[in-house]
């Protein structure tokens, strides 16, 4: 099969490459672009470890062909750090509230939580649990993940208020 020319914006940077249309986005990110934040967990669209943000949508990159997203704007967990390289709010809150143990699911958790808070800046606990239902964690029991996202919402709202 002939390769196609792929152009993407990933974490604000224009990237290009050649890929077979059947290449899954997760493989293109990890193997061609060496962006290894998004993880390959179940490979069956259940666990959410491969979640990335594509044009404002949380998407499982193991269930997306790179051909389908040619031209898209993609954000991974790497793109959610601050410009100076320090941890972004969600990343910092996951650390502070022990929202991870082994850390395997964390890139997907944080990337999904980012979109959730963009759409709903003041989520209830139920909103968070429902909104995070596409991400599985086998360590934490979710309590601290929910706390970390809730604390992130509070901090982001306080920052927004202070800026106004």
């Amino acid at each position: 099969m002939s390769k196609m020319h792929v152009k993407l914006t990933v974490n604000g940077k224009q990237v290009e490459g050649l890929a077979e249309p059947r290449t899954l986005l997760i493989h293109f990110l990890r193997e061609d672009l060496k962006i290894t934040g998004p993880h390959i967990g179940c490979e069956t669209s259940h666990c959410g470890a491969c979640t990335v943000d594509i044009d404002g949508k949380s998407v499982k990159s193991c269930t997306t062909f790179v051909a389908q997203v040619n031209g898209a704007d993609i954000t991974t967990v790497e793109g959610l750090a601050n410009d100076d390289g320090s941890l972004g709010v969600l990343q910092e809150m996951f650390r502070e509230h022990h929202g991870l143990q082994c850390g395997f699911c964390t890139p997907g958790m944080i990337t999904r939580a980012h979109r959730l808070l963009q759409e709903n800046p003041t989520p209830t606990e139920e909103d968070i649990r429902f909104g995070m239902a596409g991400n599985l964690c086998r360590c934490t029991g979710y309590q601290n993940i929910v706390k970390a996202i809730s604390a992130s919402a509070d901090m982001l709202n306080a920052q927004k208020e202070a800026a106004e």
Binding site: R22, G48, V59, F65, F130, G134
Partner: protein, 277 residues
């Protein structure tokens, strides 16, 4: 889990998409959100030489709310169904059901057209569309035609759609004011297909009842609907249990599925009735 290779096409209009299907015949398949098809391709249970991506076809998008009819483009995602206020005001049943499909990530990609056209007995939208008496618009080499949702499903993964046709839009009559609606789904975990699910509309002396994943097609029952329209809930449940044909699988034995079906149907009827009038 790498799928077999294929040529990728991204046509910009329906006519071009049909042209590609005609040119390549059995070798070509359309892809909408891909969250049913890509897992099958990764397992090599689906292979095709040509993949026709429908995402760039504007004619397949959009939600139109009319006084008597709602029209959904086939490429409207579950996420769009959930967040469209006008649609929820017109037919609240659609949002209630869409919220119970898969998980948030899948709902951003999964489309209503893919859900109804795939013919998977586990999908929620086919039963819902039968309850609502929707019709599906199909475009093919010989032009356009419309098929009622209640006539569309022939067997698991077999529908009235021909290989070279594309399901383009779904037309749904707006239920009259005073008609209560409810969707009840029992599933083992988030993201699972239903063990049993029921879609119910009732009010103004009318009723419509359909169920999901209890046969190799969705089940709309005229006798169950008529019984409920006459106010006889027990007769409605009996008629529906008679119409379904569940088989034993990892969601349970036949007896259990019939039990869950009755529970889901009664709950949906209760809630729809409480919203009627």
């Amino acid at each position: 889990m790498i799928p077999a290779g294929f040529e990728y096409h991204r046509p910009g209009d329906i006519a071009s998409a049909i042209g590609i299907l005609q040119e390549h015949g059995d070798e070509a398949r359309v892809i909408a959100g891909g969250h049913s098809l890509i897992p099958m391709m990764k397992l090599r249970m689906a292979e095709m030489g040509h993949l026709v991506d429908l995402q760039a076809i504007d004619e397949l998008r959009g939600v139109e709310i009319g006084p008597e009819t709602v029209t959904l483009g086939a490429m409207v995602t579950q996420h769009e169904l959930i967040t469209h206020d006008g649609l929820t005001a017109a037919i609240p049943l659609i949002r209630e059901a869409a919220l119970q499909i898969a998980d948030p990530q899948v709902r951003y990609m999964g489309t209503v057209g893919g859900n109804v056209a795939n013919g998977d007995p586990g999908n929620d939208m086919p039963g819902l569309m039968q309850c609502l008496n929707a019709s599906f618009e199909l475009s093919g080499p010989d032009g356009n035609r419309s098929v009622a949702a209640r006539d569309f499903y022939e067997a698991a993964y077999f529908t009235a759609r021909e290989d070279e046709e594309i399901l383009t839009r779904i037309s749904i009559p707006v239920p009259g004011a005073g008609v209560g609606q409810a969707y009840e789904k029992q599933k083992r975990k988030i993201g699972d297909y239903a063990t049993a699910a029921a879609a119910v509309m009732v009010g103004n002396g009318t009723a419509s009842v359909a169920m999901t994943n209890l046969a190799d097609t969705p089940v709309w029952s005229e006798s169950a609907s008529t019984a409920l329209a006459g106010g006889n809930v027990d007769a409605c449940v009996t008629a529906m249990l008679d119409a379904i044909e569940p088989v034993e699988d990892n969601r349970g034995p036949v007896e259990f599925k019939k039990h869950v079906a009755a529970v889901m149907l009664r709950r949906a009827i209760d809630r729809a009735q409480s919203r009627a009038g």
